[in-house]
Structure formats: structure tokens, C-alpha cells
């Protein structure tokens, strides 16, 4: 089995007026299926820029990015949308739920664009909400949920499509310690039990501790890349 993510000499250059900002400078990275990676680095180092490219929301200015064996660095917007829908789940720092729309409908959203029947959408979204412990809150609006609960709805929305990759850019950045711990427990479970590859950006050491690999970015390049936990060999146990 090949790697899930292969980045090769990826550059991202923004132009603001006459000023050129090099957010990523020839970054190369390989991540295998089933890994749990924490990305760290100081503010402005290019973490979010990298995440956007990995999530097919944005494309590199230069360089190659292969996801699941597909060259995605020069695909059309609609193809990228299809890939996001099929393979990628996002969790944002600011939750980004659709306002005045129930938890269930928020969790349904990706399936909506898959053209599933309403019944299937409902059933799968309910199951996803159950997995993040939100059974009984299906009809709540975002304003009727705590921050932690909102982030769990966002995770349900991300995993409802059974993605191969889950990207979380500072998912606990707006949460208290207790809620952060709950969110991280959910992510750990998803990675361990379902083999979903998780890439997480964080500034907090204890959050990063959940991951098995830690990549530090500086000035748009990989500064360090190390395994922090022994990888449990997938074939060994039926945990």
C-alpha cells in the first residue's frame, strides 16, 4: 500500500500588492494511511496554508501533491470538490457550523452533495452524531450547544462520509481543557478503531501528545519530523 499523502517540493507564494509572501518554501512530506500526525510551529510558519493544500481547498503555486495516488495539484475546482466530498473531512478552529440549522442537518451536509436519499442522509448523520456522543441533540441548533458540543457536531460532519483523511486545524483552539480532552479522545478513537488518517495542527503540547508523529514547520519548511509513539502494528491485535 502506497502513502496517502505525498508532497514534493511544494511552494505557496502569495502576492499582496508588490510584496511576495512565501508561505511554503519547497516543503516535502509523506504520510501513510492510518497515521496520526500533529503539526506544530510558530504563528505564521505556514501550517494553515499546508492544511488547505492537503485538504484540496487550495493548490500549490509550485510542486507536486499526490493524494491516494491521484495528482491533485492541477485539478479543476469541481474535481477538487468531489475529492473533498469523497475522501476528506475538515474540523475547523471556529467550528463553522451552518447557523440556524439543526445538528442533524449540519452533520448531513456532505451527504447532501452526494445525492443520497433523504432517508439515508438522516440515518448516516444520526449514526455519526451517536459516535461523537450527541444522541438526543439532533434537533439542537448551534446556539443551543456548548463549544465542545459544536465541535463534536463538526467532527460528526467530517466523519459522516467515512473519509480516509481528517484534517483538523487547531480543533481545540477555542475550547476549555475539559472539552479539549473530550475532542481529542474522539479523534484518538477514530484513528485507532477506524484507521482514519488524522492530521492535526496545534500549539498545545498535551494535544499533540495524542498523535504518534510530530512535524514542526518553520518558515514554510519542515524543521523536524519525528515519531513520538511506537506504531501499533495493525495486524497484531484485535483491540
Amino acid at each position: 500500500m502506497g502513502s496517502l499523502i505525498e508532497c514534493e517540493d511544494v511552494w505557496k507564494i502569495y502576492r499582496v500588492g508588490d510584496v511576495e509572501v512565501q508561505a511554503l518554501r519547497g516543503l516535502s512530506l509523506t504520510i501513510a494511511q492510518g497515521e496520526f500526525v500533529a503539526i506544530m510551529g510558530s504563528s505564521g510558519s505556514g501550517k494553515s496554508t499546508l492544511m488547505n493544500i492537503l485538504g484540496c481547498l487550495d493548490q500549490p503555486t509550485k510542486g507536486r501533491y499526490r493524494l491516494n495516488g491521484i495528482e491533485v495539484d492541477n485539478l479543476k475546482p469541481d474535481r477538487l470538490a468531489g475529492i473533498r466530498n469523497q475522501q476528506i473531512g475538515f474540523v475547523f478552529q471556529s467550528f463553522n457550523l451552518i447557523p440556524r440549522t439543526s445538528a442533524l442537518e449540519n452533520a448531513q451536509l456532505p451527504l447532501f452533495y452526494r445525492g443520497l436519499s433523504l432517508k439515508e442522509q438522516r440515518a448516516q448523520a444520526e449514526a455519526a452524531l451517536r459516535r461523537v456522543g450527541l444522541q438526543g441533540r439532533e434537533q439542537h441548533y448551534p446556539t443551543q450547544l456548548s463549544g465542545g458540543q459544536q465541535q463534536r457536531v463538526a467532527i460528526a460532519r467530517a466523519l459522516v462520509t467515512s473519509p480516509s483523511l481528517l484534517l483538523a486545524d487547531e480543533p481545540t483552539g477555542n475550547l476549555d481543557t475539559q472539552s479539549s480532552r473530550e475532542i481529542m479522545k474522539i479523534l484518538e478513537t477514530l484513528n485507532r478503531d477506524e484507521g482514519i488518517t488524522i492530521i492535526l495542527v496545534t500549539h498545545e503540547m498535551d494535544v499533540a501528545a495524542s498523535a504518534a508523529r510530530e512535524i514542526v514547520i518553520k518558515d514554510g519548511q519542515v524543521l523536524s519530523d519525528r515519531v513520538t509513539k511506537a506504531k501499533p502494528t495493525s495486524s497484531t491485535v484485535g483491540v
Binding site: 488547505n52 485538504g55 481547498l57 487550495d58 475546482p77 469541481d78 470538490a81 468531489g82 473533498r84 466530498n85 469523497q86 475538515f90 475547523f92 463553522n96 457550523l97 451552518i98 447557523p99 440556524r100 451536509l109 456532505p110 447532501f112 452533495y113 452526494r114 445525492g115 443520497l116 436519499s117 433523504l118 442522509q121 460532519r157 462520509t161
Partner: protein
Amino acid sequence: MSAFVWLTILTALRILARNRLRAGLTMLGIVIGVGSVIAMVSIGEGAKRAVQAQIATMGTNVIVIFPGVTSASGVRGSQGSAMTLTVSDALDLKKRIPLLADTAWAKRDVMQIVYGNRNWNGTINGVSPSYLTIRDWAFTSGGPFTQTDLDSAARVALIGQTVVENLFEPGEEPVGAVIRIKNVPFRVIGVLVPKGQSAQGADQDDVVFIPFSTAERKVFGTSFIGSVGAMFGSTDQVEDLPMAAEQIREVLRARHRLQAEQNDDFTIRTQVDIGKVQEGASETLTMMLFAVASVSLLVGGIGIMNILLVSVTERTREIGVRMAVGAKRRHILMQFLIEAITLSLVGGVLGIILGISGTKLTTLIAGWPTIISGNVIGVAFLFSLVVGLFFGLYPANKASRLNPIEALRYE
């Protein structure tokens, strides 16, 4: 796809319900535009139908010939002001023009009619017997006079409903009674079925018909013997009317020895011509109406576009989220288009309801005849759909072209 469309419509309706006041104000232009079109078309159709019914009271496939020149609208001076048409003209027309099924002639004057101690100023018409058949005029009691009555200048009369009402007691039988016109006694032998107003607005039932010869010799005075106030012809087929009219013109010009440079000394109008004059008036009204409707629909459409642009800006982040989870350009485009169409269709339906109630109210209060056709409702519905589609296109396209990252980051 159908689940997608259905859910998008539901979402659109929910958004409308949430911003009811804003949506209501946005739809107002459409509501008023559609409502006024339906009301005005219905009133116009009703008026047109009423005019058509009046024109039908003239008879079937009728041609009218007046002496003298008449203005295009058919308004004319008092009949008989020119004495250019004669009974022999009428007889000759029938002989020479096979297209004419029948011809008739008439002469009229307003005179006092006396019955017992009552009197009434009514229009006395001296007519040929064929006049009543050309005008399809039936009887409520009694019957017509005959050629024999014409030949013998019999003192017999046929009277219309208005005259009956003014001379006789309710329930009294006029047939057999003797009335006096200019002191000459006439026996009533028939009462005519009411025809109501003519296309020119005259009361057609305020009439007394007597044989033409009797009128000439015993009532109207002996000057201009043989001249007629108007001639009438009829054809079997409505398509023959223009041809018959042209042939009448040729025959009359020849009989009157008119040179090529001389104008006609008579005027010919077919039933179709008279109908066209009336229709022309209602067409002008229709044009004005469509101008009003277009302006309101335009204003309504711009309102929809404006509100949608606001909505796209307000919901930029939402659009970003939808794109992040896999919405393609066409999904976002469809979402906002469906919202626009929902807005305009709800406006259209409200407009249709308003238009129908307005129309019913007009009939109820002003007593005008109205006809609400399914066509106009269908067209109004279609128009609101097109307005929504057209004015929704720009905002929807704008939304669908947003960059997902910028949209997600939008504050």
C-alpha cells in the same frame, strides 16, 4: 439530484420564513405586477366579451350602408341627413349581387306614441319586412308584418320592450292593442325580444317598427319619397362580408354616376369592421397594461437581485463550509437560483391571489363583467418564474465563484 432539489427548496422556504418582512418587501413588486396584470386582463376580457355580445345583437353577417360620408369610428349625424340612398338602390343591390342573402331598408324618426292616457317619445322605424330577419329579431308575442302589409301600407306596428314598459301596465298584453303615432292608429301585432344596448350605447328596445310604405305615406310626411335612412344586407358566410361590401360599393357608385375622382356619397360598414373599432380600443388598453406590468416585474426582479446579493454576502462563510464539504459550483448556483425562484414564485402566487380577489371585487362593487382566464394565470406564473431565474442568475453565479478559503475566512 431530486433529494438535493427538494431539500434546497425546503431550505429556501425556511430562509424566507425566517426573514418574512424582508422577503415580503422584496416580493412586493412581483405581487403588485402580477396582481395588476391579472385584474386588468380579466376586466379587459370581460369588457371585450360584452362588446362582442353587443355586436352580435346587430344580426348575423350584417352590412350597414348609410347615406353620406361617415367618420371612421362609425359615429354619424342624424340618419337621413343626406338623401342619397333609395329603395330602388336596395332592390337593385339584391338583384345584382348574388353574395347578398337579403337586403332591407329603413327610415326613422322620434315621435310621440300614445296609448290610452299614456304617451312616450320613441323611435319610429319604417322598415321592409326583411329588416327583422336580417337582424335576427325574434318575438316574445305576436309576429312580424308581411310583404302584403308593406304593399298595402297597413297600419300595423311591432314594439320593443322599452316602449311596452312605458305605455302598458305590467302584465297587460300589447298584442291587439291600438296605439296612435302622430294621431294615426296602429294595431300592435308583435312584441320584440329585448336586445339591450347597441355597440354605440343606444337602447335598441326603444323602438316601434311599422311598414316602410306606411311610414312614408302616413307618418313621416311625403317629402323625399323613396329615400331611405339606412340599408342593410346580409351574407351567408362571414368571409363573404368584405367582398359583398366591395360589390355594393361598385354598384352604388355606378347607380349614383360617381366619377372616379368623386368620393362615395354613402358609407359601408360590415359587422366585422364595427367589431374591429371596438377591439382597437381594447388593444391600446392592453398595451398600456403590459407596460405597467413590465415595469413592476422589472422593479420586482431588481428587488430580488438586491436581496440575494445581500444574502450571498451574509452567508459567505456558509458558502465556504458547503464548498469545503464538497459542494460543486452548480450546487451553490442551484441553491441561490432556487432561492430566487422560490421568492418570485411565492410573490407570483400571492399576486395571482391578489389579482383574482381584485377582479372579483370589481365585479361585486362596480358590477363590471370580468373573465378570469386560465391562460393569464399561467402566463403570470411563468413570468414570475422567469423573473426569478433571470435576476437570480447574477447573485447565484457570484456565490458559486467564491474561493472556498476566502469564503471560510470571511468575517
